[in-house]
Amino acid sequence: MSAHSTAVDPKSASLWARHYPGHDVIGTRTFGFWLYMLTDAMVYAALFASLVVLSHASNMVGGPAPSEFINPRVAYEETIALFASVLTYGLAMVSLKKGSRRGVTGWILLSALLGLVYLGLSVADNVNLFQHGITPQTNGFLSAFFAIIIYHAVHIVVGVAWMLVMLLQIAKEGFSQNVVYRLINLRLFWHFQAVIWVFVFVFVYLQGVVL
């Protein structure tokens, strides 16, 4: 078998791609963002694995059992806020398809607000825990517990900041190629962190209640 057997007939072969349109910018950018999310998913995977490793009774010395302090009710409220925010962001993308600048701006503003609501709930809950002496310094389990929650909250902060930046860019540039791919990537990011939140809710909060 020859290595060239798959090749085309040299007589009719096209050698140079004239008028080559170049590569699809939006497609390339969003593909890269998918790859980034894969790395972030690996970060979460490592953190969740750490939580599992640090969830034995010996890892909870000097602190209360998780079921004594974990409050799935707050987490449920946070879930509502977060998912509502994802929904409004989805609606922003619908407006983007219509090309409605007002629609996009309004829905993104609402998403950012709902993100802030989530953050408020989360901060209040954790400050409450700190005040009861339940801190990351208490024991190994709590270190992992707070690491996941805080790392997720950082994502929300970044997402909200990104939304605010996008509002400015829409005002400045309208729906240019750059703005559009960033809005698409932000949608990916916002959905991604919501998916992660499902895992946080199940494996940190719900699991914590039965531990």
């Binding site: 290595a3 060239h4 050698l15 390339t28 000097g62």
Partner: protein, 713 residues
């Protein structure tokens, strides 16, 4: 403060104080500092004297050209390789001196000349530098340069991100170098020992330096891998189907998939060390519900894939060089691709063999022993395929090929000893021993040999002339000799039961082998001198070794289809790919014309200084964190966030090269190439003009327009 710190701390300077300026009071460092300072001044002076600051800034520091970024990666890699070698010399000298209870001690040491405090830093720095700041940048640099050209692209998918990755790696390297003079480096091995790296046992700043430098390079490499994968998936020239992808690009793809998925785990492993040290959490502490084995798992879940992240591009390089110099198609292309991905896949399931002795259940050790041996299957297949590539070929022993063959023979030794380590009952006997050290040095020498081969092989592509052969061969043979003298005794010492990281060897029986290793180090030192001579003579006599597009005459893949040196836009017109070894196919069919004419405007990214400045701020951020200078940390973080946001508002990031400028550049290159034909200077010193190739059967096209290389094929 959440943690108890030994020593002083002030708001303005953190833990930094006069006492920490090691270069002022440690004798060895005084001289080192003087030399480094002089060299630095000389470099700055030279740039100023020749008025090259502007050139340096415009053409290099702010560039987003993947080739220049790659070259800078390689320069970082080579500089750090030198530093790593200096560390190796110091370790070997100490182990050569400190044998037996009667050996004398100097400079505060009981035996030899290095105290545990110092040799600890040296072996940590040696390992970390060689893996993270020498091998990784060298290979990332090569992939950066070659992959876009091999797939017929003009640049990487994200040129700006590419530059950022470079400067993050540069920041990390700078941090490691700084630790030499200010404060100290980690003294517990490059991969870190927990809980040894917790504050009670490593109270100094060394671990913090280690951690942040590591973190910077991890972020940089992750960005790089995102970029390379996106480039390979999205930027291939029309007609380049997956099964026409050059083999080095396949290797890059598999290796970057490994990096993409494993580096985040390293970031977590290190971040948790950081949280223990800065916030007083209990991830890895022995008490308080921590779990020190968690670190080993997380680190080696990255660490072992990282090993294959380094070896797969090396295999890719060998798979490029061997066909070119066997003047023949690669044997078993599909098998090679499958084997690369098999190695990449298995690499995820073997990490536990790094702590076989941690008393896991025998069933667990059995599982990981078997998975580790599985790596031997695709690796063995690759070795056979290279052999069968040479079979029925015409093997030319030029320098790149010699390096590739050295890599192949070291791989046989390294592979066999690796299989011995995978056999867990063997590993129980020498797990933390010198035998393992000798094994993985064999493997990194496979990588190093491939890198040297790749440098020889692709150098003419980038610079338009070949490296000379005479000093290069001296360099090669002294590397071979050095390897023999250092590592054969090391294998024997491994079987003797000697363990790693000793600063004093209590058993005089091991003395002769250690002395032999010192001889090997001397040979390596001589090799280094030959390498410098190799570079110097090559640069001096470059005019006599100018080459055209197909520098070796038997190149096969797409990168040999553009001029040497490669213009900034790589291809005046994007090539249309018709075959697996496109250039070989074109030569077979007499389609070697490289000047299609009718040029079109080319869109290229504009230079930007933002990545460099961001890299600098990441460096100050890491420095601030290391010394716990909180204001510097806050300031750097704010600067980074603001710069990223401000840059996102910049819309003026691209430029267009007009067709007439493209034509002028193309013409200049072809003129230059045809000069040598006119003056009768051979295209390279290794053989006659128009070296016979596998494709000689075609009549040479008439001179004139096409002459860049077509005329000589």
């Amino acid at each position: 403060m959440l943690v108890h710190l030994q020593g002083s701390w002030s708001p303005a300077l953190g833990r930094l104080c006069m006492k920490q300026l090691a270069f002022l009071h440690v004798p060895i460092l005084e001289y080192t500092f003087a030399v480094v300072a002089l060299l630095g001044l000389a470099a700055v002076g030279a740039v100023t004297y020749f008025g090259k600051w502007k050139y340096l800034w415009r053409e290099w520091l702010t560039t987003v050209d993947h080739k220049r970024i790659g070259i800078m990666y390689i320069i970082i890699g080579l500089v750090m390789l030198l530093r790593g070698f200096a560390d190796a010399v110091m370790i070997r000298l100490q182990q050569d001196m400190a044998i037996g209870p009667h050996s004398p001690g100097y400079m505060g040491a009981v035996h030899g000349y290095l105290t545990p405090f110092h040799i600890g830093q040296i072996f940590s720095a040696h390992g970390m530098i060689m893996i993270v700041f020498a091998a990784t940048p060298l290979l990332v640099g090569l992939m950066n340069i070659i992959v876009p050209i091999q797939i017929g692209a003009r640049d990487m998918a994200y040129p700006y991100l590419n530059a950022l990755g470079l400067w993050l790696t540069g920041g990390g390297a700078a941090l490691v170098m700084l630790s030499l003079f200010i404060g100290n480096f980690a003294h517990g091995g490059w991969y870190g020992f927990l809980p040894y790296f917790e504050l009670p046992y490593s109270p100094g700043v060394g671990v913090d330096y280690w951690m942040w430098a590591f973190q910077l390079s991890a972020i940089g490499t992750s960005l790089g891998s995102i970029n390379l994968i996106a480039t390979i998936v999205k930027m291939r020239a029309p007609g380049m189907t997956w099964m026409r992808l050059p083999i080095f690009t396949w290797a890059s793809l598999s290796t970057n998939l490994i990096a993409l998925t494993s580096f985040p785990v390293l970031m977590v492993a290190l971040a948790l060390v950081g949280m223990d040290r800065y916030l007083g959490t209990h991830f890895y502490t022995a008490g308080m519900g921590g779990n020190l084995m968690l670190y080993n798992d997380l680190f080696w879940i990255w660490g072992h894939p990282e090993v294959y992240f380094l070896i797969l591009p090396a295999f890719g390089i060998m798979s490029e060089i061997i066909p070119t110099f066997s003047e023949k198609t690669l044997f078993g292309y599909a098998t090679m691709v499958i084997a690369s991905f098999a190695i990449g896949g298995v690499s995820w399931g073997v990490w536990l063999h790094h702590f076989f002795t941690m008393a896991a259940a025998p069933s667990v050790n059995s599982f990981y022993s078997i998975t580790t041996m599985l790596v031997g299957i695709p690796t063995g297949v690759k070795i056979f395929n290279w052999i069968f590539t040479m079979y029925r070929g015409r093997v030319r022993f030029e320098l790149p090929m010699m390096w590739a063959l050295l890599a192949l023979s070291l791989l046989i030794v390294g592979g066999m000893t690796g299989m011995m380590n995978a056999f867990a009952s063997n590993d129980y006997m020498w797990h933390n021993g010198i035998f393992v050290v000798a094994h993985f040095h064999m493997m990194v020498l496979v990588i190093a040999s491939s890198i040297f081969g790749a440098v020889e092989y692709w150098f003419p592509k980038l610079f338009g002339f070949k490296l000379e052969q005479k000093w290069g061969k001296w360099f090669f043979w002294f590397m071979v000799l050095g390897t023999g003298f250092v590592f054969v005794p090391m294998f024997i010492l491994g079987l003797a039961g000697m363990t790693r990281r000793l600063d004093y060897i209590p058993y005089t029986a091991w003395g002769p082998y250690l002395h032999l290793e010192m001889v090997g180090i001397g040979l390596y030192g001589a090799a280094l001198l030959f390498f410098l001579a190799h570079l110097y003579v090559s640069l001096r006599d470059r005019e006599s070794r100018r080459v055209g597009a197909d520098a070796w005459g038997t190149g096969r893949s797409v990168e040999w289809m553009t001029h040497s040196p490669v213009p900034s836009y790589n291809f005046a017109l994007i090539p249309h790919i018709n075959a697996r070894d496109e250039w070989a196919w074109r030569k077979d069919n007499g389609l070697t014309e490289l000047h299609p004419g009718d040029y079109e405007p080319i869109h290229m990214p504009k230079n930007t200084g933002v990545p460099l400045v961001l890299g600098a701020f990441f460096f100050t951020l890491a420095f601030g964190l290391t010394w716990r200078i909180w204001w510097l940390t806050a300031l750097s973080t704010a600067a980074i966030v603001i710069m990223i946001i401000v840059r996102s508002f910049d819309t003026d990031t691209d430029m267009t090269i007009p067709p007439n400028e493209v034509e002028r550049t193309e013409k200049r290159r072809s003129d230059r190439a045809s000069d040598f034909i006119a003056t009768g200077v051979p295209p390279y010193a290794g053989g006659p003009v128009g070296t016979a190739t596998a494709y000689q059967r075609l009549p040479e096209p008439a001179g004139g327009t096409g002459a860049s290389s077509g005329g000589r094929l």
